[in-house]
Symmetry: C2
Subunit: 349 residues, 2 copies
């Protein structure tokens, strides 16, 4: 299985053949349909628990929750619990808690980024204002902890409160790297690991906690989520330059215009000559943008294999994620999760 996964992750890629991509999409569909019943319960809890006598809260929360997205993180909690042989319903509430944390960070992210689009729609802060976005984020965050307290596991509370602190650290670290041409691959990976992968890791790990599995299983699921999460973020950052806007559901080139130091750019700058460096300094550091700059950025990244090497690193992390998974019992869910990793790395949107 690992060898097969390595083979798969080693080739293919953004220009892999369509049947391979279809198998990838099928992996996400298969996961969603395997967990459809559980996910319905999770969605019911999400809708139920974002209610408040203060009308603006369910309005705004409903807007961002309805916008949907892949619900990848709660799916990971459900899948991890299933993989650990759990058959109760505690994981529904906890998956909802994970999604609330994610939604809260999205709301705060959009305020921070001044994004105007999110998942193909106007972002909540554009529609409801920054103030409401910050506060409804706070509400969902608090509600998430209320759900965990109702569940009653201090281990889960420890894992998710730690993850939340790490996410915030990652976001602050990202602020410090933004507009900073000196950002290294190591610093980029530290940001991705904290702001994205920490929640993937926690979402998976709590699956082992509800199933009362030994700590080796919790650790393996943590490692799976962590490596998957970093790979996921790398691909996200590649797609911000290379995806079709209609498929991605948000504007292409956002990261470029915001001066974010993502991996493809880090590679391109590191390998570029002085003229190229001047271009990056003007666009990313001084934020002086002219017509055609995004195309030029893409050209430079491609010249230095910035996209290919980023995807290459994502694939290596994908292999590590699947390796970690392979230490767990050989249930069908294991293969589904392995395919999900591959799909998320090879996706084009």
């Amino acid at each position: 299985m690992i060898a097969a996964a390595e083979r798969r992750l080693g080739r293919g890629g953004a220009d892999s053949d369509p049947t391979e991509r279809d198998r990838g999409v099928a992996a996400l569909d298969r996961l969603s349909s395997l967990l459809a019943g559980d996910m319905q319960s999770v969605n019911r809890i999400i809708v139920d628990r974002m209610q408040s006598p203060v009308a603006l809260i369910p309005q705004l929360a409903g807007y961002i929750v309805a916008a949907g997205g892949k619900r990848l993180r709660p799916l990971l909690t459900l899948a991890a619990a299933e993989l650990c042989g759990y058959s109760g319903s505690r994981h529904h509430k906890l998956a909802a808690a994970v999604e609330f944390i994610h939604t809260a960070t999205l709301l705060h992210d959009d305020v921070v980024d001044e994004s105007e689009r999110r998942r193909g729609q106007s972002s909540a802060n554009t529609l409801f204002g920054n103030q409401a976005s910050v506060l409804v984020g706070d509400f969902l965050f608090s509600r998430s902890f209320e759900l965990m307290v109702e569940d009653g596991s201090l281990d889960v509370l420890r894992i998710l409160s730690r993850a939340s602190a790490v996410i915030a650290e990652g976001e602050v670290l990202q602020l410090a790297t933004t507009n900073n041409l000196g950002t290294s691959e190591t610093e980029y990976l530290a940001v991705a690991s904290a702001k994205t992968a920490a929640l993937f890791a926690a979402a998976c790990e709590i699956g082992a906690i509800v199933a009362n599995r030994p700590s080796a299983d919790a650790d393996a699921l943590h490692q799976f989520g962590l490596n998957f999460g970093i790979a996921f973020q790398i691909v996200d950052d590649v797609l911000d330059y290379s995806a079709h806007e209609a498929l991605l559901g948000k504007t292409i080139g956002d990261d470029f215009r915001e001066g974010k130091m993502t991996l493809p750019v880090v590679y391109a700058i590191d390998r570029g000559n002085d003229v190229e460096r001047a271009f990056w300094r003007r666009t990313l550091e001084d934020m002086e943008h002219r017509e055609g700059d995004l195309d030029q950025a893409i050209t430079l990244i491609q010249r230095h294999n910035g996209f290919a090497d980023s995807i290459g690193l994502a694939r290596k992390l994908g292999v590590l994620a699947i390796d970690a998974l392979m230490t767990l019992s050989a249930r069908p869910m294991r293969g589904v999760l392995a395919s999900l990793v591959e799909f998320c790395i090879e996706r084009e949107f």
Copy 2:
């Protein structure tokens, strides 16, 4: 004691004699000095736990924490625990958790309000930017839950996660009342109760939890904190029009310029004639401000006893707070807390 408190709260007020005010200040000083050793431990935890490898986090958190403030909320936790006869050290960590929640809401508040001053200094968002303020707020909020998890009481986690959700609800409700001339006294009190008093109540209640006191004591401390907190917010809102800027440490008239519907204004609008209503509509609803408007607002509020009636309501709530306190054991701390309530209501800064 209650009768004495009622007598005291019934008279005095913003124009009470100086000796009475001195007694009030003495109450806060006495509380601080009684709890000085505990507070030192709390401060050590606060400084220790706002550390992060991401340098901007302790910088920004340190800035707002060093700015100080009265540390009223953690003092309440310490005092409540002492009043319940608690002699351990668990309350230090929990008092720090309470202060972290408060600091996080201040950081998010300043972003929301676009405040430029906080506690007599430039507010954190002016100095470090909105983005960092939102994220460091998130960090402190998460860190607060980590501290509670380390303590390990699910009751404390329940109380403070609930309070956090209610605070966010209160802040959102305040957004909905801002610029809204139709805001009633009831709505104002709902906002004050949620955004301010919920944390006062929780801070007090957890004192009973660490001391393993019966739920009647926890309820009494909750009621004490709730009524005290609403009274505290009312006085804060009066002072935003009437305090000396140098003493208050922030700009006078902020609420007016932001169109906030605080109690003195609610009373003045409710009791004003059509000409006055037009003034309030222009200044608070349409936010068109001219030279001399703040003075005019103060004149109108005074004409309709807006300040006096607000302080009058604060005093009634102060009596309720002290009543709740009187159901607890007659330790010296009880009298100190009662004096603290009086001080906070009669303070002029």
